[in-house]
Amino acid sequence: MPQTLYDKLWQSHVVRTEADGTALLYIDRHLVHEVTSPQAFEGLKLAGRKPWRISSIVATADHNTPTDHWERGIEDPVSRQQVETLDANIREVGALAYFPFKDARQGIVHVVGPENGATLPGMTVVCGDSHTSTHGAFACLAHGIGTSEVEHVMATQCLLQKKMKSMLVRVEGKVGAGVTAKDIVLAIIGKIGTAGGTGYAIEFGGSAIRALSMEGRMTVCNMAIEAGARVGFVAVDDTTIAYLKDRPFSPKGEVWDRAVAYWRTLVSDADAAFDAVIDLDASQIKPQVTWGTSPEMVVAIDGQVPAPEDFADPVKREGVERALQYMGLTPRTPIKHIRVDQVFIGSCTNSRIEDLREAASIAKGRQKASNVRRVLVVPGSGLVKKQAEAEGLDKVFVAAGFEWREPGCSMCLAMNADRLEPGERCASTSNRNFEGRQGNGGRTHLVSPAMAAAAAIAGHFADVRDIL
């Protein structure tokens, strides 16, 4: 019987199955960061248990770390304690690799894993972080877990899981100039909604997905969770294999050849059946901007803020009213008329080298608008930062009046000092526009790196296609 990629990933990890289909799934890679792990390490210790396989663990500190003045250390004592707790736990327990605060390879866990070759096709990858779906770009079965499950994986190298339904999101055709992976995934979320993928594992396919770089595919898979799906992935092809060659933890020599032969099988069979199929025409996708407090509240740059009466469902209508009030927006305002106070370029969605190149190409030779208080550019990792500096991107940003920072999660969730003030409006390349996400009372509009840079220059949302 023809199999989907999900069938293959699932089947190859089942240790045993309960009568109701609940399976014990073997976990290959466990990514660990400081926020969701302390209680798991403590639980393990209290029960007198040891980690099952230390070599599955790759750890880094990212959520709490500051993005400037590293010489001062972590000034917030509560944040510092959490990072020091991770240091102590990894020191005691061990790991395949640990990239602590200030390490040359430290960074956002979902950037660090792939760039070091610690994320390989066919793996199950888990992390106490919902954006673990990012790793699906490598044809991994990758998803976020809670802290109890972090402890469960440490103790048993397995997770209790029920097989999800399968969804194929097929994006065919060619996107226009200035339209990026971020716009593709925002358009998908706009179409199916933030609960559209609940209960599904999403395979992203079609010629527009195939045409994306690994960085672009990571952006798309990253936001599967914003479409409600814990898991999103892309089949293996030449792009996948070329990216992985010679990464620090990628296999080498004869083992590499064996691995590649296996990885080539990680595609859905031609006649495989999905529980749901969604089709998008890439040529119709325009640069996207969210206007509300849920990622599904999204329109194209040439659109306008909707009105509550556009929505028939009363619960939805009320949600729109509440979002408009929180966002301080009037119905029918053209998106291009919305002015921004801050711009954030970073996060596990858009902080890789390609994202920074994209933003720099817009910023080059231009200046931040005077009404924009601050533009933060936060690379995803120390390695991304180094690469960007080698290409001179940092100089482009600084010349444009942007701030070039140290790597970390930063203002995506504002656990460190980078945040919006109440009422401030931000063009952000991150993944969530929830109330208070980037700071209490802050107003977030999700966009691509190019669109964020364009907003920084114009002082309001602008169509990047007019600037190119």
Binding site: T22, T36, H143, G146, V315, M415, G436
Partner: protein, 212 residues
């Protein structure tokens, strides 16, 4: 894990869709390295008029009188009535920890985000999915009935309304069994340690690159 068998509890209605885990427990409280004490900060940004930070004396903070959980009639609620896609967003288990610590033992709604749904079971917090029409009726009944309570029987998979109408819900048999008995997942899984070791040994031969 705390067992859940049956519950007769006061119902509080939270009538909005897509309640995300950032709303349930804002990020500044995630800096804690403990798994308890999150209840006073559940729904912090909606519940209080000022901005909350870890270490504040929450009993002295100004409450938002418009937030539903602050209304006198819902004090002591053990069941939260919710709408679509409750618990969406981040995987933070601090969300069910906060709800449980606040005093909720069950959630009743149309749909829950996958990771949140899973996390709830690990903490003896029972998320119950019911059809939209039944949820609409529950919201309508709660609104006009002070002291509105529901009886939940996990073994029978039923929710009973004060008017006697019984609603049935689905739940995976394995989850149900674990929750009824309060079993520790890890202990349960470790009973299969030999099977895991065998699987791992085979994998090590077939895909050695996974074990460097």
């Amino acid at each position: 894990m705390r067992a859940f068998t049956a519950l007769d509890g006061l119902v509080a209605p939270l009538d909005r869709a897509n309640v995300d885990t950032d709303a349930i427990i804002p990020k500044q409280f995630l800096k804690s390295i403990k798994r308890s004490g999150f209840g006073p900060n559940a729904f912090d940004e909606w519940r209080y008029l000022d901005h909350g930070e870890p270490g504040m004396d929450n009993s002295k903070r100004p409450l938002n009188p418009d937030f539903v959980l602050n209304q006198p009639r819902y004090q002591g609620a053990a069941i939260l009535l919710t709408r679509d896609n409750f618990g969406c967003g981040s995987s933070r288990e601090h969300a069910p920890w906060a709800l449980e610590d606040y005093g909720f033992r069950a959630l009743v709604g149309t749909s829950f985000a996958d990771i949140f749904y899973n996390n709830s079971f690990k903490n003896g917090l029972l998320p119950i999915k019911l059809p939209a029409a039944e949820i609409d009726e529950l919201f309508a009944q709660v609104a006009i009935t002070p002291g509105y309570r529901l009886r939940i029987d996990l073994a029978a998979q039923t929710v009973t309304r004060p008017d006697g109408k019984m609603l049935s819900f689905d739940i995976d048999p394995f989850r149900k069994e674990c929750l009824l008995n309060g079993w520790d997942d890890i202990g349960l899984t470790l009973r299969h340690a030999d099977a895991i070791r065998e699987f791992e040994a085979k994998r090590r031969i077939e895909q050695p690159w996974l074990f460097n």
